[in-house]
């Protein structure tokens, strides 16, 4: 995994601003975009470990606490 700048925010607006202010990668490969949002992390961190994705900045948005996601009823989805 390559080193990256890490930022964490609980505010959607500042997350978007941080993402927008990060320098753009010269290559057009979307896998090499210089900033990535970190939500669950199960895909991003896995790909970063494998060197597939190499962001220069990681913006942790786990603290956004999206109310609609919290309202999902997994039990009903699994058993109804």
């Amino acid at each position: 995994m390559q080193p990256f700048h890490f930022a964490r925010t609980a505010d959607a607006k500042s997350a978007v601003l941080m993402h927008g202010s990060s320098p753009k990668d010269a290559s057009s490969d979307p896998a090499n975009t210089s900033a990535q949002y970190l939500a669950g992390g199960t895909t991003l961190l896995d790909l970063m470990k494998l060197g597939v994705t190499r962001p220069e900045q990681v913006i942790d948005i786990n603290d956004l606490g999206h109310p609609k996601l919290a309202a999902l009823n997994l039990e009903r989805m699994a058993f109804d």
Partner: protein, 204 residues
Amino acid sequence: MVSHTNSGPQWSRRNFLATSAASTMSVTLLDHPPTTAAPSSAADPRNPFVTNTTINNRHYRLAIDVRTTLLDALREHAGLAGSKKGCDHGQCGACTVLVDGRRVLSCLTLAASTDGKNITTVEGLAQMDGTLHPMQQAFIDHDAFQCGYCTPGQIVSAVACVDEGHAESEATIREYMSGNLCRCAAYPNIVDAIKQAKTKMKGA
């Protein structure tokens, strides 16, 4: 071991390792406070990242590489090797820990993401006097393991499974424990153990 050259501070691999080992509890490699939420564009990303976390009701201040996963921070820096590294890719669940009461895969969580949070590992379940958590005792009573490698993750996950209210039937237990693999296939005994611990945990 001691060299007598007069060229500034002596930073050999050996004394670096010794320093790291001696400072597992409270590592302070930086003399300035953590730069939380600062636009971290100027600083070198290789600089240590300072996290302050509560692990099993003890405070830990760790200055670690920003790439360090929570699992590596626990095992290599906090000295809590109970959480196991199985696949390191989030497939086996052996590394499951609780962050603010929610179970997470510590191998796919950055330690930096848990700054200021409350972490519970398998080491934090038993009481101070050594009395086992009802779930730990239930795993022993029901032989809910063979090799035991997945067990720390299974137990932490099982405690959360009961706390979430997902241990009402065998089907829900199996569904909500499905993130924890056991290659010894002790699943029937794990389900039995969770059923036993559930009643004790509710009584407690």
